[in-house]
Amino acid sequence: MHLILFFIFGGFCVAGALNLLFQRHPINSALSLIVVMTSLAVLYLLLGAEFLAAAQVIVYSGAIMVLFVFVIMLLNAGREERTHGSKAAYAVGIPGAAALLGALVYIFLSNGSTAKVSDYIVNTHELSRVLFRDLLLPFEVTSILILVAILGAVALARKEH
């Protein structure tokens, strides 16, 4: 059961990602990214992280992607044209990416930790305990982060006078 679900949604993820890669229109790419994220949420569920699954759907697919789509609309970005800006990107980058993938996969396989994922559910209570006790400071600090983000968005988006 678990296995099947993993394959289905894992497949969805990859398919979405590839679609993002091959779609020429940003909107389509955005939508396919949403697909990836939502199916990731399912995988989270499989891994027993309901809270994260929820957050994934709400924050990512909800907020962030909406923001993307909004901007795409705002700047009404059309189909991207295949300009030839850089040979290096292909000549160097793609092999690099491939090598990266290869290396990682090799490592994960030869890692040997075939620890099966037991079905163990994190209850949100414990989650919050850790979050608001051990990780209190980082949590508070993120507020600065967000503040900075807002500031920046305002400062940048503001028109010159």
Partner: protein, 673 residues
């Protein structure tokens, strides 16, 4: 020591004169300048004479230690002066003749600008020359040695605005440097083998080791000879002396006839202990001497510039002295040195007086018939001519004869030396009388001057300003040809007398004299080895040889008389007949040209093309800039990565990432588990 002679004063006083005139002369009046100069030359002469009379009371050699000059852990050299018989003779000649020439110059240079400069240099020369003869070690001697070279450089280049003069000066100095190069190496060898350069030290060591024969002693001796050839204008380094005639005539008289050029002979005599151990070196000296004597004489035959004739005769006479040294008869060499100083100085001074009289002209072809116009000059000159060509009882006869006699007696190849010497004697007589006739007899050819006939100095006349400083003729043409002032004539007369009687100090026993100078020098040289076997019973031989040489001299005079007095048209005919030989000799065997082509030109060419062009600019410069360009070229490649395109940047990042990942993982370094 009994009583100090204060030898150090002898060189120091001329030096003082040099300083005063050199620094202040520009401002001082001529009278004062000349007084200072004369005093600075006279006092040493007086002191020398005084010392001469002291000789009895002083054990010779007498040494004065003034101070330490160079001192290092390994080696030291002092400022030491020494007096012995040889020095004594040299001192007398140098100061005596030197003083006379100073006197003469006062008249001769009277109208020169830079008068003060001239006398300053003259005193400087006296200083160095005296240091040279007084020195007690080779290093100090070398000071004088190079110093006189410097003085002659300055004096030859006295008319520095004339390119020829400046060139001659430079040539003299550089050629002398080649000689000094030999001297230096000889000194290095001595330091290496004896650890000292003082005469006493070196000679005593040589004396202590009779085993030392040839070997490094020959090396030292030969290097010394190289030095001597430079200073004494012998083959192969004689080339500078003829050009040196660019200097004022008194200079030629003092430096290039009487004193400096004899330094080489003096040095060989001084170092005779070393030479005695090296037959090889002696042979070389003899060969050089005889070759030079003959060679220079032949050139002298065709020269038309009066001073150049004298220059070549000087070279040739020095050759005689070398022959003497070469046959280890140093005393006779010194003897000839002395007499030669007298008559050659006289010849130059007289020539100077002639030149002075006819307004700076040096070309004999435009002289002639001056006999009546310049009586004193004529008579003194005559004395000198007879002396040099060796008429008895003039000075030259005895000294030259002594040399030929010694050569004849000397075991190794002496006969050949004697024969060539004899021929040279003939040539000498010939060209000296040629000069005599061309200058003083016939009618004056001075009026019909065509420029094409004129020699180099005449060309210089084309630039009038030059000549005004070059030669004192501002009054030359004014009231026609005239005798020189007395201040110039007195020295002529004195030297004239000396060149008549000067030789009597060395009349050989064969002719009823008792070779005074030889005996005087005996304590230094001992009896020349050649004499040993030949002392008694050889009177007849001596007389016959003398007779032969005298006959030869007369022959020479006859030829000259016929060619240049009786039948003046003949020389042209001969020239036409023996054209090849004539041009060869006329161009002095093209030696200068050959040297130029063989040494100077290649050196300059190599320097400018190979060294400067190829090595310095090409290789070294190229390496510098090449590497610079290379680096910045690589820099350009490094920049190329910056295409400015985000995606390519990301590409590099990705590649780098992959590389790092793989490197770390499969990577170098320690392996785990």
């Amino acid at each position: 020591m009994t009583s100090s002679l204060h030898l150090w004063l002898i060189p120091l006083i001329p030096f003082a004169g040099f300083l005063v005139n050199g620094l202040l002369g520009r401002k001082l009046p001529k009278a004062l300048v000349s007084t200072i100069a004369l005093v600075a030359a006279a006092v040493p002469f007086a002191q020398v004479v005084y010392t001469w009379f002291q000789l009895g009371g002083i054990p010779l050699p007498y040494v004065e230690h003034i101070g330490t000059w160079i001192q290092t852990g390994a080696f030291n050299a002092g400022i030491d002066f020494q007096l012995d018989h040889l020095t004594m003779v040299m001192l007398l000649v140098v100061t005596g003749v030197g003083f006379l020439i100073h006197v003469y110059s006062v008249g001769y240079m009277a109208h020169e600008e830079g008068y003060w400069r001239f006398f300053a240099y003259l005193n400087l020369f006296m200083f160095f020359m005296l240091v040279l003869v007084l020195a007690e070690n080779f290093l100090l001697m070398f000071v004088g040695w190079e110093g006189v070279g410097l003085a002659s450089y300055l004096l030859i280049g006295f008319y520095y605005l004339k390119n020829s003069a400046a060139n001659a000066g430079k040539k003299a100095f550089v050629v002398n440097r080649i000689g000094d190069f030999g001297f230096l190496l000889a000194m290095f060898l001595m330091v290496f083998h004896f650890g000292t350069l003082s005469f006493s030290g070196v000679f005593s060591q040589v004396a202590q080791h009779p085993a030392w024969q040839g070997g490094f002693l020959s090396a030292i001796a030969i290097f010394l000879v190289l030095g001597a050839t430079g200073k004494s204008a012998q083959i192969p380094l004689y080339v500078w002396l003829p050009d040196a005639m660019e200097g004022p005539t008194p200079v030629s008289a003092l430096i290039h006839a009487a004193t400096m050029v004899t330094a080489g002979v003096y040095m060989i005599a001084r170092a005779h202990i070393i030479f005695d151990r090296s037959p090889l070196a002696l042979t070389i000296v003899a060969i050089i001497g005889v070759a030079t004597a003959f060679f220079a004489a032949t050139i002298g035959v065709l020269q038309t510039d009066i001073k150049r004739v004298l220059a070549y005769s000087t070279i040739s006479q020095l050759g005689y002295m070398f022959i003497a040294c070469g046959v280890a008869s140093y005393a006779s060499g010194i003897f000839h040195l002395v007499t030669h100083a007298f008559f050659k100085a006289l010849l130059f001074l007289a020539a100077g007086s002639v030149i002075h009289a006819i307004g700076g002209e040096q070309d004999m072809r435009v002289m002639g018939g001056l006999r009546r116009k310049l009586p004193v000059t004529f008579w003194t000159m005559t004395a000198a001519v007879f002396a040099i060509s060796g008429w008895p009882p003039f000075a030259g006869f005895f000294s030259k004869d002594e040399i030929l006699y010694q050569a004849f007696l000397s075991p190794n190849g002496g006969k050949a030396l004697w024969a060539i010497g004899l021929i040279t004697a003939f040539i000498t007589a010939f060209y000296m009388f040629r000069l005599w006739y061309m200058t003083f007899f016939g009618e004056n050819r001075g009026e019909d001057r065509q420029l094409e006939e004129h020699g180099a100095p005449v060309h210089a006349r084309s630039d009038s300003t030059l000549v005004l400083e070059a030669e004192p003729d501002d009054h030359g043409h004014g009231e026609g040809i005239h005798e020189s002032p007395w201040i110039m004539l007195i020295p002529l007369i004195i030297l004239g007398i000396l060149s008549v009687i000067g030789g009597w100090i060395g009349i050989p026993s064969a002719m009823g004299g008792h070779n005074a100078i030889a005996h005087f020098l005996d304590p230094l040289f001992g009896t020349p080895p050649a004499m040993v076997g030949a002392l008694e019973g050889s009177n007849t031989l001596a007389l016959t040889l003398a007779g032969v040489s005298f006959a030869v001299v007369i022959l020479g005079w006859l030829c000259a008389h016929i060619l240049y007095f009786a039948k003046p048209e003949l020389p042209a005919k001969f020239a036409a007949k023996l054209h090849g030989l004539y041009t060869l000799v006329l161009n002095k065997y093209w030696v200068d040209e050959v040297y130029g082509a063989v040494f100077v030109a290649p050196l300059l060419a190599v320097s400018s093309y190979l060294l400067k062009g190829l090595v310095d600019t090409g290789i070294i410069g190229g390496a510098t800039y090449g590497s610079a360009y290379l680096t910045s070229g690589i820099g350009a490649i490094a920049q190329r990565l910056q295409s400015g395109n985000i995606r390519s940047y990301a590409g590099w990042l990705a590649l780098g990432a992959a590389a790092v990942l793989i490197a770390v993982y499969f990577g170098f370094g320690v392996h785990f588990h």
